[in-house]
C-alpha cells in the first residue's frame, strides 16, 4: 500500500476518528503506567469502596485504590494482550493458510480440511476450551484467544493465496525454480497483504472484547494484575453503589474496540473498491440545433463531434473519445479498427447510450433513424434503441444472465418492448435461435447460458438482436474470444443476418483482416479520433501513416519470413496524456512542426478521408513480399 493511500485513508471521517482514537490509546498505553503506575497500586484504607468524589473521580475499589487511575493504567496491559493474541492468530493463520500452497496436493488438502473444521467451531467456545487447556491466567488467555482466532484467519489466507497462486507470475516463478518458501514470502504474501491487514486490524478489536470477556469470567487476567475486563468484573459487583466503577472500563473497551474496527474499515475503503468520481462536464458543448445536412435521409445513425469524457484525478478530464463524427447509412457495413485505448468500443457504447454512469457524453448531433437522441428522456431513448438497435459484445458469457434460461432472455426483449405474451415471445425466441443456426432450438431455448459453447452463445446473442427488427447492429469485437473456425461461422452468420434484415452493421475490431472481410467501409481510430476513413477496396492506397504501418506490422500468410516485420516505434498515448496536435506525430516518420496542430479529416481520394498533414500517395508496401517472389 502506498503512502498516499494511507494519507487519503486518514482524511476520510472514519479514518480520521479511528486514527485519533488509536493514537490517543497508544500514547496512554505508553505514558499512563509510567505516571500513574504507582498511584494506581496505592491502597487507601480510609477510603474503601467509595463513590465518586473530588479526590477520586470515579471512586475507589474494595482496597481503596483509585478506579480512574486503574482504568488508565490498564490500557497498556489490555491493549498489549489483545495485540499479542492477534499476532498469534495472524502468525498461526498465515502458516496454516500458506501450508496447502507449500505442501503437496494430498497433505495440503488435509490442512484445508482441518482448518475448515476449526472454522465451524464458534471462536468464543474455542477460546474457552483453550483457556482451560492452557491454564487460567493472562498467558493462557493470550494463547487461547490467539489460537481461537487462527482458523478464521487461516481460512482468509487460504482463499487469498488460492486466488493468487493461479496467476501466471507464480507459475513463472515456479518454472524459474524458485523455492516454495521464497514463493510464499516474495510472491504470495505481498500480493494478499491488503485484505490481511484489514482483517488483522478488525481482529485486534475482537480480541480486545474476547479478553474483557475472559477476564470478566475470571478465566483471564488474575490478581494482582488487572486489565479492563478484570476491572469491569470487579466494578460490576457494586454497580448499584458506584456505577462509574463498571462503566469506565466498559467504555474503555468499547472505545478501543471501535478504534480498531473503524481503522480496519478505513483501510478497507482505501484498498478496496473506490467509488467512481461523479462530476458534470462544465464545458459540455450545448447540443446545437443545426440545419439537416442534405443527403442524410438514408442515414441510420448520424453522430457529429461525439465526445466521451471521464473525470480524472484533480480537476481534469480524460477524453477517450475526442470528437468522432460518423454516419452509417441503411444496410451499410462499417468497420471501426483501432488498438486498445483508441476509443473504438467507447464510441459504440456512447452511440447505444450504454456508457458508464460517470462518463460525460456530448455531441453536436446524435441521431438514430432520423430521431435525435440528445435531450430526450431515458425512457424514450430506451424504447427507440430497444426495438431497433442490436448490440453484440465481445464476451458472450458475461452478456447473458447466467441464472436465466436462454429462451426466456430472448423472449424478454419482445415482452418488454412489444408487449407480446409469454408463449408468443418464447415461440419467436425459438424461431430466432433456429435462424442463427442453433441445432435443436426448442431444447436449447430451455438451457442456461453455461450449457452453450462460446460460439453458440454469440449466435444466441445475435439471435437476441433479431427479436425485434433492428435497423442497426453494433458488434463490438464479436469474434475476438472465439476460435478462427468458429469466428468464420459467426461472421458469416452476421453477414447473412445483415442481408436478410437489411440492417446496417457497425463491426468493431482490432483485426483489420476480420473487418476487411465483412465491411464496405473502414474507419481507423487512433487516440480517440478518426484518423482515416476509406472503402475496403482501397486499403492498398491508405493515406495516413498510422493506417499504413498497421497493415505492414501484421503478419499474414504471405509475409516474407526473412524480413523483420514493420513496426511502429513507441506506444499509443494514454488518454490522460495525449500530445497536442496530431496524436500520432511522436511515432510518425513524416512528422514535422506542422503536426503540432491537430489535422482535420480531409478528402484525400475518392470516398477516402484522412486526418493528416502529410497524406501518402504511393501504394502501401504490403505487397513487397510478393514482389520478391520469396513467398514462404
Amino acid at each position: 500500500m502506498r503512502l498516499e493511500h494511507w494519507r487519503s485513508a486518514m482524511r476520510s471521517p472514519v479514518g480520521a476518528v479511528a486514527a485519533t482514537l488509536l493514537a490517543a490509546f497508544a500514547v496512554l498505553a505508553v505514558i499512563a503506567p509510567m505516571i500513574w503506575g504507582d498511584a494506581a497500586e496505592e491502597t487507601e484504607p480510609a477510603a474503601l469502596s467509595q463513590g465518586s468524589s473530588s479526590e477520586h473521580l470515579l471512586g475507589t475499589d474494595a482496597l481503596g485504590r483509585d478506579i480512574a487511575l486503574r482504568v488508565l493504567v490498564a490500557t497498556r496491559f489490555s491493549l498489549g494482550l489483545a495485540l499479542m493474541a492477534t499476532s498469534i492468530s495472524v502468525v498461526i493463520g498465515i502458516i496454516l493458510g500458506v501450508l496447502p500452497a507449500v505442501l503437496g496436493r494430498r497433505t495440503g488438502r488435509l490442512v484445508v480440511a482441518v482448518v475448515n473444521l476449526a472454522v465451524a467451531f464458534p471462536a468464543l467456545l474455542l477460546a474457552l476450551v483453550f483457556a482451560v487447556v492452557f491454564g487460567i491466567g493472562s498467558h493462557g488467555a493470550v494463547l487461547a484467544i490467539g489460537a481461537a482466532g487462527a482458523p478464521s484467519f487461516a481460512r482468509l489466507v487460504q482463499t487469498n493465496v488460492a486466488s493468487v497462486a493461479g496467476r501466471d507470475y507464480v507459475s513463472a516463478a515456479r518454472v524459474a525454480g524458485v523455492s516454495r518458501l521464497r514463493l510464499v514470502v516474495r510472491h504470495l504474501l505481498p500480493n494478499i497483504g491488503e485484505p490481511l491487514v484489514v482483517n488483522a486490524t478488525v481482529m485486534a478489536g475482537t480480541a480486545l472484547l474476547a479478553f474483557a470477556g475472559l477476564s470478566f469470567l475470571g478465566l483471564g487476567v488474575q490478581p494482582p494484575s488487572y486489565d479492563w475486563g478484570r476491572l469491569l468484573g470487579e466494578g460490576l459487583d457494586r454497580i448499584y453503589l458506584n456505577p462509574a466503577a463498571a462503566l469506565a472500563p466498559g467504555v474503555a473497551v468499547v472505545l478501543a474496540g471501535l478504534a480498531f474496527t473503524l481503522m480496519g474499515e478505513a483501510i478497507a475503503q482505501v484498498v478496496g473498491i473506490r467509488t467512481g468520481m461523479f462530476r458534470t462536464l462544465d464545458a459540455a458543448p450545448v447540443p446545437v440545433a443545426r440545419a439537416e445536412s442534405a443527403g442524410d435521409d438514408d442515414a441510420v445513425l448520424v453522430a457529429e463531434d461525439l465526445r466521451v469524457a471521464f473525470p480524472a484525478a484533480g480537476d481534469g478530464w480524460t477524453r477517450p473519445v475526442d470528437g468522432v463524427s460518423l454516419t452509417v447509412r441503411r444496410g451499410e457495413t462499417v468497420g471501426i479498427v483501432g488498438e486498445s485505448g483508441s476509443g473504438k468500443s467507447l464510441t459504440a457504447l456512447a452511440l447505444a447510450r450504454l456508457t458508464p454512469e460517470n462518463a460525460a457524453v456530448s455531441a453536436t448531433r446524435l441521431e438514430f433513424a432520423g430521431e435525435p437522441l440528445l435531450g430526450r428522456s431515458d425512457a424514450e431513448v430506451g424504447r427507440l434503441l430497444g426495438t431497433s438497435l442490436a448490440m453484440v459484445f465481445q464476451d458472450p458469457m458475461t452478456s447473458f444472465n447466467p441464472s436465466m434460461r436462454v429462451g426466456a432472455q430472448l423472449a424478454e426483449v419482445t415482452r418488454t418492448h412489444e408487449g407480446h405474451s409469454r408463449e408468443e415471445a418464447l415461440e419467436r425466441a425459438v424461431d430466432r435461435l433456429r435462424k442463427v443456426h442453433i441445432p435443436v432450438p426448442e431444447r436449447r431455448a430451455r438451457q442456461y447460458p453455461h450449457e452453450f459453447s462460446g460460439g453458440m452463445r454469440q449466435r444466441a446473442m445475435i439471435g437476441m438482436g433479431l427479436m425485434s427488427t433492428p435497423s442497426l447492429i453494433i458488434a463490438d469485437e464479436p469474434t475476438t474470444a472465439l476460435d478462427v473456425t468458429v469466428q468464420r461461422q459467426v461472421l458469416r452468420l452476421l453477414r447473412d443476418v445483415q442481408r436478410d434484415s437489411g440492417a446496417a452493421v457497425v463491426l468493431i475490431s482490432h483485426d483489420i483482416a476480420v473487418v476487411s472481410q465483412m465491411c464496405q467501409r473502414i474507419v481507423v481510430m487512433y487516440a480517440g479520433r478518426i484518423v482515416e476513413e476509406l472503402p475496403v477496396d482501397q486499403l492498398a492506397s491508405a493515406a495516413h501513416p498510422y493506417t499504413r504501418t498497421l497493415f505492414g506490422s501484421v503478419p499474414d500468410m504471405t509475409t516474407d519470413r526473412e524480413r523483420p516485420l514493420a513496426t511502429i516505434p513507441g506506444r499509443p498515448p494514454d488518454p490522460g496524456a495525449r500530445p497536442g496536435g496530431c496524436a500520432f506525430a511522436p511515432r510518425c516518420t513524416f512528422a514535422d512542426e506542422r503536426c503540432a496542430e491537430a489535422p482535420e479529416l480531409a478528402v484525400v481520394g475518392a470516398r477516402q478521408r484522412a486526418a493528416c498533414w502529410h497524406p501518402r500517395q504511393e501504394p502501401v508496401p504490403v505487397t513487397a513480399a510478393a514482389e520478391t517472389g520469396d513467398r514462404i
Partner: protein
C-alpha cells in the same frame, strides 16, 4: 541447445467419469535450434502440453525427454522456460523488473554480478537497463512481454516454451515482439515451442508446424509444407478460416458445408473413430462411403502417412484440390500442385525417416540447415 521430445504424453484432468484427456498420447519433437509452431483451437491442449513440459501440470502417461534423458526432477525442468500469454499477469506487481529477472538466475551470485547480468538481459530484449528498478505497472504490454522474455532467458534455458506470447498485445507492438523473438532465436540458436492460435504468426517464426486437435497432434511437418500442402483436412479448415485482407466471406470454403458440425465436440465425449469426422469437409458426412472415419481411429497408424497426418484420407485430392488456391490468393502458382507432390515424395519420406518420436530431421542438425530445408520448398 538440446532437443525436447514428448513421447506419448498424456495429461488427464479430473477423475472417474468426468475425466478428460486434455493431452492424449502426443508425440512431438522440438529439434535443437529450431522453432516448432504448435497451432490449434482453444481447448485443443496446446497450452497444457507446454505446462506439462515445465511441470506445472502432472502427466498421466508418457515421457518428456531433454536430449534423450527423461526429465524427472524439478532441477531438470529449469532447463525449460516458459513465457506466458498475458504480460499483465505474468509479472509480480510488487516486484521490480530487475528482481523478477534476477530471481530466475541460476546459482548464487553477488549483488553486483546479479545487477550486471540483469542489465545484460534487459539489453538483450531491447530495454533500457535503467528500467530494472521500475515496477511492472509503469510498463506497456509489449515492454512487459520483453521483461518476461528476459526472465525466461535468465535461467539459461535449453528450450523456451512460448505460450500465445503475442495474443494479448496490440497489433502495433505484436510485430516488434515477434521480430525480437525471431532475432533472439537466430542469434542465440534457441529451441522454441511456439504456441499460437494465429497461423500467420506461427508461420512467420516457425521452422516446423504441428497442428493439435482435441488433445492430439493431427499433423506435423516443415512449416512451408504444412501450409502449402496440408495433409489433414483440419489444417486445411484452419487455413481457410484464417481471416485475410482482401478475402470475402462469400468465397465459400469446403468447411462451410452446412451439414457439418459448426462447433468442436466436447472433450468429455470425443467422437468415435476420427475425432474430426463430424466437422470434416472430406469426411463421412460429405463423402458417404467413408464410414471408416467414424469407426477407426486414424491416430494409430499416423506415423506411416506424410506429415504423420491422423487422417485415413490424408493428402486426398479434396485436400490438395482446395489447397493451392487458398494459401495465397495472389501468387498461388508458386505453391500449387508442386507442393503436394513434394510433400508426398521427398518431404514425407524425410519426416517419417526420423522415426516415431522425432520430426523434422535428426537432433544434430543445426538451426541453419533446418531453416534451409524449409526454404527449399518449391519456388518455381
Amino acid at each position: 541447445m538440446r532437443e525436447l521430445v514428448f513421447r506419448d504424453v498424456t495429461v488427464r484432468f479430473g477423475s472417474g467419469h468426468g475425466a478428460i484427456n486434455a493431452v492424449d498420447g502426443v508425440d512431438l519433437a522440438v529439434p535443437a535450434g529450431t522453432v516448432v509452431g504448435l497451432v490449434g483451437e482453444s481447448g485443443s491442449g496446446k497450452s497444457t502440453l507446454a505446462k506439462a513440459a515445465v511441470g506445472l501440470v502432472p502427466t498421466a502417461g508418457g515421457e518428456i525427454l531433454l536430449d534423450d534423458v527423461v526429465m524427472r526432477r524439478a532441477r531438470d525442468r529449469r532447463r525449460l522456460q516458459m513465457v506466458f500469454q498475458d504480460p499483465y499477469s505474468s509479472l509480480d506487481p510488487r516486484m521490480t523488473v530487475g528482481d523478477s529477472i534476477a530471481e530466475a538466475l541460476p546459482g548464487r551470485r553477488g549483488r553486483a554480478a546479479r545487477r550486471s547480468e540483469v542489465a545484460r538481459l534487459l539489453e538483450l530484449v531491447d530495454l533500457d537497463p535503467a528500467r530494472a528498478t521500475e515496477l511492472p505497472s509503469g510498463l506497456s504490454g509489449g515492454q512487459r512481454q520483453r521483461v518476461a522474455l528476459a526472465r525466461a532467458l535468465a535461467a539459461d534455458p535449453e528450450v523456451i516454451l512460448a505460450d500465445e506470447v503475442t495474443s494479448a498485445l496490440d497489433v502495433s507492438v505484436q510485430g516488434a515482439v515477434l521480430n525480437l523473438i525471431r532475432d533472439l532465436q537466430r542469434r542465440l540458436g534457441l529451441s522454441i515451442l511456439f504456441i499460437s492460435h494465429n497461423l500467420a504468426v506461427v508461420r512467420y517464426v516457425s521452422d516446423l508446424i504441428a497442428v493439435m486437435y482435441l488433445g492430439r497432434i493431427v499433423e506435423v511437418g516443415p512449416a512451408a509444407d504444412v501450409l502449402s500442402a496440408p495433409q489433414h483436412p483440419y489444417t486445411r479448415t484452419l487455413l481457410d478460416a484464417a481471416p485475410r485482407l482482401g478475402a470475402s466471406l462469400d468465397d465459400a470454403v469446403p468447411a462451410d458445408n452446412e451439414i457439418l458440425d459448426e462447433e468442436p465436440p466436447s472433450p468429455h465425449d470425443p467422437p468415435p473413430g476420427c475425432r474430426f469426422h463430424r466437422r470434416c469437409p472430406i469426411g463421412p458426412l460429405v463423402v458417404t462411403d467413408r464410414t471408416i472415419c467414424a469407426e477407426q481411429d486414424p491416430h494409430i497408424d499416423a506415423v506411416s502417412r506424410p506429415h504423420r497426418a491422423a487422417c485415413h484420407f490424408a493428402g486426398g485430392e479434396h485436400v490438395n484440390g482446395a489447397g493451392g488456391e487458398h494459401v495465397d490468393g495472389a501468387g498461388g502458382e508458386h505453391v500449387d500442385g508442386a507442393g503436394g507432390e513434394h510433400v508426398d515424395g521427398a518431404g514425407g519420406g524425410r519426416v517419417n525417416g526420423a522415426g516415431g518420436g522425432r520430426v523434422g530431421g535428426a537432433g544434430s542438425e543445426d538451426a541453419s540447415s533446418a531453416g534451409n530445408q524449409v526454404r527449399e520448398v518449391p519456388t518455381r
